[in-house]
Symmetry: C2
Subunit: 474 residues, 2 copies
Amino acid sequence: MKNKAITSRDEDFAKWYTDVVKAAKLADYSNVKGCVILEPNGYAIWEKMQAELDKKFKLLGHQNVYMPVLIPESLLKKEGELIAGFAPEGAWVTIGGNKPLEERMMIRPTSETLFSDYYASKVSSYRDLPLLYNQWCNVMRWEKETRPFLRTREFLWQEGHTVHETAKEAEEETLQMLNVYRHFFEDILAIPVITGKKTEKEKFAGAEYTCTVEALMYNGVSLQSATSHYFGQKFSKAYGIQFLNRENKLENAYQTSWGCTTRMIGALIMVHSDDNGLVLPPRIAPRQVVIVPIGTDEEVFTLADQYNKKLIANGISSFVDKTERSPGFKFAEHEVNGIPVRIEIGVRDLAENMITLARRDTREKIKVSKDCDIVEEVSHLMSAIQQNLFESAKKRNDEKTFNAFTLEEVEKIMNTQPGFVKAMWCGDEACELKMKEIRGTKSRCILENEPAISNKCVCCGKEAKHLVVWGIQY
Amino acid sequence: MKNKAITSRDEDFAKWYTDVVKAAKLADYSNVKGCVILEPNGYAIWEKMQAELDKKFKLLGHQNVYMPVLIPESLLKKEGELIAGFAPEGAWVTIGGNKPLEERMMIRPTSETLFSDYYASKVSSYRDLPLLYNQWCNVMRWEKETRPFLRTREFLWQEGHTVHETAKEAEEETLQMLNVYRHFFEDILAIPVITGKKTEKEKFAGAEYTCTVEALMYNGVSLQSATSHYFGQKFSKAYGIQFLNRENKLENAYQTSWGCTTRMIGALIMVHSDDNGLVLPPRIAPRQVVIVPIGTDEEVFTLADQYNKKLIANGISSFVDKTERSPGFKFAEHEVNGIPVRIEIGVRDLAENMITLARRDTREKIKVSKDCDIVEEVSHLMSAIQQNLFESAKKRNDEKTFNAFTLEEVEKIMNTQPGFVKAMWCGDEACELKMKEIRGTKSRCILENEPAISNKCVCCGKEAKHLVVWGIQY
């Protein structure tokens, strides 16, 4: 009973991934190289992600703004590390209104420069702080190899940018937002994650340090899924964000930024989905329930409408599929699209006063009385699905997480059953580069709250400083 | 009691406008020429506009998608009229990833080309139709003169793009969406509008015809506020959107597009606001009620919190201003920001069991019992404000709408008390060009459902075909 449009996940993971993207109508390739079209099913997931995160951001006092999409080169250059990091990936506007521009402008790859330039004009006293702004927008990075959701030249994201009076407050914000992301991944997306600091080599250009949310895909490949950066005074010095502090002295402000992208849709696919298409945790599914009437009996349609009304009235996103297609066709389509719960109402079941609930994750069918409390049944089932998806992913992560003490062990793991590898590190970039020779293995993050597993660097054998998670990455 | 940061509206309207934008913290100039920064107060209005419109779009069966921001030149050129219209305003990306591009790409000024190219690959049978898509995004047009919200190089908008099986259905969609905009303007923004078709000269490049929503500002200048276009088969022929119709014959599909922008925030300012700052109709105000405790009495704060809780529980956006600033300072700030209702709670009032409600539109203060049903009082007041703003604008529009029968009359009106001028027109573009010599007067739209006021063209005196509304425009 496999969907024929979808390659088996265990056979060819990369092909399976793009098959799911296409079959579930999440995105389509466009005639603009390296850019995809977010189709209704894909964009609806992004809208739900936005709604969930935006609510949390605002509860924590953040406000939304919108900055220009173009950044003049001179403004970009004020802070050296950022431009050095993004220049090779820049898309440059050089002509405007039929004339060559005096100064070329980059389509924003990220907006630290514009926010910092703006903050410099807005901040003059500690009374103006903190400023807690966020924007939802498109950004562009001229990637060579692209893959829908995971890496495209243009993508959608949110970028939070905050300015604070003290380093302590800014560091607390960095950590707070990392935790917002972690909860979002675990509670809403049902994706277990590891969080921690990036190494110097892997941190964001221009940051003092970068905190990251790292997830593990079905095939054992790691995905950097969201980041939260502490900038200290780097940008505030470059852009002149100064304020009179409580001692009436001029001081440079302390900044953070934090972001997540449409890449999270790629993570949803690669963590939960299967050979029958998309699987979505109920809390992020734009449509949570589909009701399929089987046959043309009036009783069937009446009950379908009754259930639908009750579910919607209780905040559950439900719809009735009344199209003139066979039930089998409908089942397959709604499965491909990842709708968590299907209610089947047929005359034969009704003769026994029963209806059928089908859950997408396990594809199990459950018969319940047609007179049940449908809202309670569905809510209960959705909780079970949400929990099962998280626990299945967690179990797989545990199975794919290994301790390694030598380079040979790392090599063996990455070559046979890649996953998260925990190993000690001396702190030397040379060792990171050596690890990279093993199928591109990179440090995911430093685990600051876990005990050391040895005192020697996995690579050079010298004294270890940090326990690090390593992985092959997307 | 005038706000000193704001120039008088009757003294210098243009300066008053930018003063209000700045004082209400709606937008700020950026170091990117021709682009502004949408600040929290301005962006929050846009978010509320998006929420209202998006809900309506979806109720009518539309789905959101996202198309690439860049359009390759060859794709743009497939339909000749559109590119001819937008080429002079294009912002071109010519370098990507440190290399000159083989083909330059324009930052989207609008996305008919990308949608049509996509639809060509998706539509093959009448069963695939209609496709009702919309996107919320940024667009860019390299304007020479810019003004916050009214005309900036980059702006935010929504663009709906639909494909239909028949011309009739597409024309109905064009009209339906025009009416969605009209209702939005009148019911939500409290802005009375005129709707109708644009003349050939003023229609959108590439459209069969364009329907428009036209509003009149406080100073008598017209603002094109939203448009809905019927494309017929123009784009479907250029981009090859063909389907097998019910007679099993290949046919080109019929299309529409419709859009509105952040310009609507400019309209809100120029229709409702005054010398004390922003005035917002309650239905579009992000924050509808502010509660200002006067003094530090516990009773005052307790009551403020009680009211606030009740209002929020009833879906009214309310907050308590507990900052340590003088009541006068707070009143002025909340007035500048256009918060429709202010509740003042002070010890002196409370001694008489009273509180004070202040409405932003008339600045009237009303004493009510502290034991009143606060939700009902505030709801009632908000309805009154909403209605008063609409009626005041309607009255002003009526006063500024004139019939004219000769060019001299048009000239006199436009030079002394500009507004909407109704006048007959022969249909000849030469006459439109002649009208333009009068302070740039342009046709706003053709009034198809109003009786002719004469049978002679206001300009050439020949036989008139249409009753047209004319105006000076932003």
